[in-house]
């Protein structure tokens, strides 16, 4: 405690020296600084960029962890990362990729695009949006600090109890998992709520539900899934926290608890989570494929219906992760049939994509390449998905490398390809510059080939009897060559990702400036406003006259949208430091609980309560800006 105070005072002194001390100009200087602007922003476009950058950083960390694992498995009997270290790597790889890379990158696209696609000036709750990001970020940071403070969690990303209890995972590792995810999870939950309200309430005049672009539809359904799925995780984590920190016995069978309860709770959250991360990718694909085929999306209504149906069925199938738990043939059969049923709406989507391209004029720009690479890859993941849904066959696949291959085909071939497509597609809208096409194509091809080389052989590894989550494997049972191939493939994905980073840096420096309609094929509202959009997005709220609102105007020979309101001053929300302060409070409290330092935890919770108090008595009513008239000298 004493050391902490000394360090705190020292930091304050240093800050004072470097910033010239606290005086009249100080506040002014801080307010106008760029850093302060980004830390306190409530603008959905900036929050989208924050989500994207944070997601990319965690994507790289998760990728490094994966590379280490494949290095260890390059040859049998390797001793690079064995035992507990390997388990830490596999746990952190899974947790990071799902919660800290896929989720924020989806929120990045949702933030950057959804308000623009529905003709809104911001999300419904800009403050909550900022809070959501900072909570996610402090949770993710807390989780990753485990590497430095006492070891990372090592019970798998599923953190099955038994193993995740104190007795079998002593040390703070699993505590970091519990509290880090709890904090990040609150951020995700309120983020999801925010987008539900935004899509329901902030649609521009004429933007009916059946005129929403598909990406917005999937974002909407995903937000609904978040609302219903994340509370299950919150409850599970809270119970595990009580077991680990306060000696409760929810999951300890010797005291009347049950590990099976954890498995149920985790997968009641966990399976919808799979759809939470895949549905927005479907949305991106729908928008990208339709744009670069220069054609209206084929079967829009059935696409919407399929999305909603997948979301709904996603809650009915969690037991297919637990076929081998021994729940009996009746429940296994019921959940097997429910799982197979999901193939139908997914199939509808695939055929609709194919027939969107049918008769179109397909341009292979980088976003379209990702979409085109996505289709066969995802279909393969879907095929193995149906195969896994059959309990008798699943008894063989379960927890083998076959499953690893399957979910990487779905999560990388589906979600990551979708995210890359979305990032390339909307990058000009977010940053005002087009990513380099040549580098983008190299990124695509190296990543695609590397991906298939890594994961295709893993189907066979599973069938040849290699369980998942193992740090080594036997020699002379036919596993060496396939593992070697699989490890070599990683190089392709690493090179691809490096090319992507180079592309980002190159584009930020020298990229081609993007026009409002960056691809010149824009169909939806976001392409009707400048790239990047002004802080108020739409100088005048547009009037929507049909699905593919901008395309409708283009076909009618109009150059821009018809405004639905006269030009006038626009009300904007003020930036706020409270989201980051409150997240800091959660961070300190989380850390306090992990190190069993109740005073630190109390300080953290006090910061949270104080920020709630500050927020409740915050009478800031925002400010008004006068938009530039787009007709006269408005930015193009």
């Amino acid at each position: 405690m004493g050391t902490l105070i000394v360090i705190l005072v020292l930091v304050l002194f240093l800050a004072a020296i470097f910033t010239g001390g606290y005086n009249k100009q100080f506040q002014e200087r801080v307010r106008k600084s760029r850093t302060w602007d980004w830390l306190t922003t409530v603008d959905h476009k900036k929050i989208g960029i924050l989500y994207l950058m944070a997601g990319l950083v965690f994507f790289i960390i998760g990728g490094i962890e994966a590379t280490f694992m494949r290095l260890q498995l390059f040859v049998p009997g390797n001793d690079l990362f064995v035992g507990r270290t390997f388990n830490e790597l596999l746990t952190m790889h899974g947790t990071t990729m799902i919660f800290l890379a896929a989720m924020p990158m989806i929120f990045a696209l949702m933030n950057a695009v959804v308000p623009l696609q529905i003709g809104a000036r911001d999300v419904a709750f800009p403050f909550v949006n900022a809070l959501g990001f900072w909570l996610f970020f402090s949770g993710g940071l807390l989780l990753n600090l485990s590497w430095i403070f006492g070891g990372a969690p090592d019970a798998g990303w599923t953190s099955y109890t038994g193993l995740a209890l104190n007795q079998y995972s002593p040390g703070p590792g699993v505590d970091f998992y519990v509290l880090g995810l709890q904090i990040a999870g609150i951020g995700t939950l309120i983020g999801g709520l925010n987008f539900l309200v935004t899509v329901i309430n902030l649609r521009a005049p004429g933007m009916t539900f059946l005129r929403l672009p598909l990406f917005t539809w999937t974002a909407f359904v995903t937000s609904g899934l978040i609302l219903f799925a994340f509370p299950a995780l919150t409850v599970a984590l809270l119970m595990l926290m009580f077991d680990r920190l306060f000696g409760a016995n929810f999951f300890d069978y010797t005291m009347g608890g049950s590990t099976v309860i954890w498995e149920h709770l985790f997968w009641i959250f966990g399976h919808p989570e799979v759809y939470i991360v895949i549905l927005p990718a479907f949305g991106v694909m729908s928008d990208v494929i339709s744009t670069f085929s220069k054609k209206r999306l084929f079967g829009y209504n059935s696409m919407v219906f399929a999305t909603v149906l997948i979301g709904f069925l996603g809650f009915m199938v969690w037991v297919h992760h637990m076929f081998t738990v021994g729940l009996g043939p009746i429940s296994n059969s019921v959940f097997a049939v429910a799982t197979m049923a999901i193939a139908v709406p997914t199939g509808i989507k695939v055929f609709n994509w194919l027939f969107t391209m049918w008769g179109g004029e397909i341009q292979f720009k980088t976003p379209m390449l990702w979409a085109v690479g996505f289709i066969p890859t995802f279909v393969m993941g879907g095929m193995t998905g149906v195969m896994l849904a059959l309990p008798p066959a699943d008894f063989q696949y379960q927890d083998s490398y076959f499953v690893v291959a399957h979910f990487h085909y779905v999560l990388v071939g589906g979600t990551v390809f979708g995210l890359f497509a979305g990032i390339y597609y909307w990058w000009p809208k977010m940053f005002g510059k087009l990513l380099n096409e040549t580098l983008g194509k190299w990124h695509f091809w190296t990543f695609l080939i590397g991906f298939h080389l890594t994961f295709f052989p893993q189907h066979f590894l599973g069938l040849f009897g290699m369980p998942r989550r193992v740090f080594t494997y036997q020699t002379n049972v036919g596993l060496e060559k396939l593992n070697e191939l699989s490890s070599i493939g990683v190089a392709g994905m690493v090179i691809g990702t490096i090319l992507f980073l180079i592309n980002i840096i190159y584009t930020l420096r020298k990229g081609k400036k993007a026009k409002a309609d960056a691809w010149e094929l824009g169909r939806t509202l976001e392409w009707s406003i400048p790239s990047p959009p002004p802080e108020y997005n739409f100088a005048q709220t547009p009037l929507v006259r049909g699905f593919d609102a901008l395309w409708v105007e283009k076909e009618a020979g109009n150059k821009s949208m018809t405004p639905a309101e006269p030009l006038g001053s626009i009300h904007m929300p003020s930036p706020s430091y409270i989201p980051i302060l409150m997240s800091l409070g959660f961070f300190v409290a989380g850390f306090g609980f992990i190190v069993r330092g109740i005073p630190a935890a109390a300080i953290g919770l006090i910061i949270v309560v104080v920020s709630l108090f500050l927020r409740s008595f915050d009478y800031d009513k925002g400010y008004h800006v006068e938009p530039e008239d787009p007709e006269k000298g408005g930015k193009e």
């Binding site: 035992g83 507990r84 388990n87 099955y160 038994g162 193993l163 079998y168 590990t259 054609k295 209206r296 079967g299 829009y300 081998t324 021994g326 043939p329 059969s333 097997a336 049939v337 197979m340 049923a341 139908v344 199939g347 509808i348 055929f351 194919l354 391209m357 049918w358 008769g359 004029e361 292979f364 289709i375 066969p376 279909v379 095929m383 193995t384 149906v386 195969m387 059959l390 309990p391 008798p392 066959a393 008894f395 063989q396 379960q398 927890d399 083998s400 080939i449 066979f460 599973g462 069938l463 040849f464 009897g465 989550r469 080594t472 036997q474 049972v477 036919g478 596993l479 060559k481 396939l482």
Partner: protein, 334 residues
């Protein structure tokens, strides 16, 4: 140019296929080489579903390749495609056909699911109680009063009912060649009915992450002809011959009693190690190292280096003679 690239990719894919065809799993471990009726049923279902899915895949890929080649933008072209809304007829087709295909898949699935859950009649069935421990397997034959570890013997052709008990954390009991796995759930008893149709040694694995040593939690299944199995049973029931006094085995026994008995004879209920009765008959040390004196020494001196996370402490304080005597004693336990 475009077409050339397509060919090159095709070439690459077929090369990968060839490479994969070049290696196949080992018959003692492979799902694709079943040696038990459960594994055969499961493989049938795997092939049936794979076949059906391959048909779907081929249809999708055919349309996909056609569309990409036929409708790509060509140089100098600037065509305005017709803005089609959809087609009810087509959409009904690709909703109804998959439903039909899934029904064709669901019927055998449900059938097999119930078939595999059926327990065989008690007589004519060998019952084996399996307990998964952090990183070893315990096998008890309640019908014969035998306890062993790491290696389980079964008669060929008979139904074996494994009753699977969980004690510490989750594990999963998996013999790929004989049939699918079932989880070892703490506080529950699961059952798994398997049989072997060929006399052979099969490999077993733990498939659920159970801690640092998970990768090395292997076991072996010795499927034997009924006569050989009966012989093995008889040998197992025979008490271990007592060692002659003042031999080096006798000294080894003393060392064993002082250092090993606490865990390996189940005296301490919290720390329980594998039963070492008949240790000399086992083919492996700790389930992974080949059984020889050198490996016993390696294991004893630093078990953690062989199997991370094992509860077995280092026995590195014995002098050379003591160690040799101990090993001699262990080797005498037939």
């Amino acid at each position: 140019m475009e077409r050339l690239r397509v060919w090159r990719i095709g070439l690459l894919v077929s090369l990968v296929m060839l490479l994969l065809a070049g290696c196949s799993g080992d018959p003692s471990l492979s799902v694709l080489d079943p040696k038990g009726s459960a594994a055969k049923i499961q493989l049938n279902l795997i092939y049936w579903s794979l076949g059906l899915m391959t048909v779907v895949f081929v249809i999708v890929i055919t349309i996909y390749v056609y569309v990409l080649v036929r409708y790509r933008k060509r140089k100098g072209q600037n065509r305005m495609p017709e803005q089609v809304h959809g087609s009810t007829k087509l959409e009904i087709i690709w909703t109804v056909i998959p439903i039909a295909a899934l029904i064709a898949l669901a019927i055998p699935t449900v059938q097999y699911t119930f078939d595999l859950a059926k327990e065989p009649p008690a007589k004519d069935t060998v019952i084996i109680d399996v307990t998964g421990h952090q990183y070893w397997w315990e096998f008890k034959y309640p019908q014969y009063g035998i306890t062993t570890a790491q290696e389980v013997h079964i008669p060929v052709g008979k139904k074996i009912l494994f009753r699977i008990h969980g004690k510490d954390v989750l594990h999963a009991f998996w013999i790929p060649s004989l049939g699918g796995k079932v989880d070892v759930v703490p506080g529950r008893v699961n059952t798994l009915t398997l049989d072997a149709q060929e006399a052979k040694v099969y490999q077993g694995k733990c498939a659920e992450l159970c801690g640092a040593g998970h990768a090395l939690m292997d076991f072996k299944v010795f499927a034997q002809k009924q006569a050989d199995f009966d012989k093995w049973l008889a040998a197992m029931k025979q008490p271990v011959a007592s060692v002659s006094a003042s031999s080096s085995e006798a000294n080894g026994e003393k060392i064993f009693k002082q250092n090993c008995m606490g865990c390996h004879a189940g005296i301490n209920p919290n720390i329980q190690g594998p039963n070492l009765n008949k240790f000399a008959t086992r083919s492996t040390i700790a389930g992974i190292l080949p059984h020889n004196d050198e490996n016993i020494k390696i294991w004893l001196k630093n078990p953690q280096a062989v199997k991370p996370g094992t509860l077995m402490p280092k026995i590195d304080y014995l002098n050379k003679d003591e160690l040799n005597d101990l090993i001699k004693y262990l080797d005498s336990r037939k």
